[in-house]
Amino acid sequence: MSVLQNGVAGVLIVLGLIIMLVGSIGILRLPDFYTRSHAASKVDTTGIIFLLLGLAVLQGWNLAMVKLMIAVAIIMLANPVAIHALSRAAWMHGERPWMRKKEGED
């Protein structure tokens, strides 16, 4: 393994971990189901893609890299679709989105 390969893989893995940490804190902190689903679908998917790309750079050119790319494609397609279906079910079930209160209301 060359130094360049290790460096690029390390940067990608650390970037993916930071993005996934932001997504987890978003799931913990945001006020509403719909905003939480926003954090869970987009941010988490981006973090997982970065981490798996880092592992693929570390692996080099072989069959395992192809399998990692298949996993990346499945995650990219499946994770937002599943969360979209869940939030559509929540909308049909009667969940209403969180609104900031107007100034006179309080």
Binding site: M1, N6, G10, I13, V14, G16, L17, M20, L21, G23, S24, I25, I27, L28, F33, R36, S37, A40, D44, T45, G47, I48, L51, L52, L55, L58, Q59, L63, A64, K67, L68, I70, A71, I74, I75, A78, N79, V81, A82, I83, A85, L86, S87, R88, A89, A90, M92, H93, G94, E95
Partner: protein, 91 residues
């Protein structure tokens, strides 16, 4: 590189355990399902890192792909169940 990957796996376990708050104390059932889906999606990358650490990457990549597909199917099934129930209740 092995020590770095071990540290990354430990950090990833901590990141996976953060949404567990929503699973236990989530206000609605949808919050719990969302947090479980997010935890399952992150477990795929944890499995890939384990494959590197155990030097059996081919096997663990297959397990990760199967886990991703299973997580997707579980999410779709639960969403379909809830949307049908909502329509029957008339909301």
């Amino acid at each position: 590189m092995e020590a770095f990957l071990t540290g990354a796996a430990v950090a990833l376990v901590v990141i996976i355990l953060i949404p567990f708050y929503r699973v236990v104390w989530g206000p609605t059932a949808f919050d719990r399902l969302l947090a479980i889906g997010a935890m399952g999606a992150k477990t795929v990358s944890l499995l890939c890192i384990f494959g590197f650490l155990y030097d059996r990457f081919y096997m663990f990549a297959d397990i990760a792909i199967a886990y991703a597909v299973l997580n997707f199917i579980a999410g779709i099934a639960v969403a379909k169940y809830f949307s049908k129930q909502g329509r029957r209740a008339g909301t």
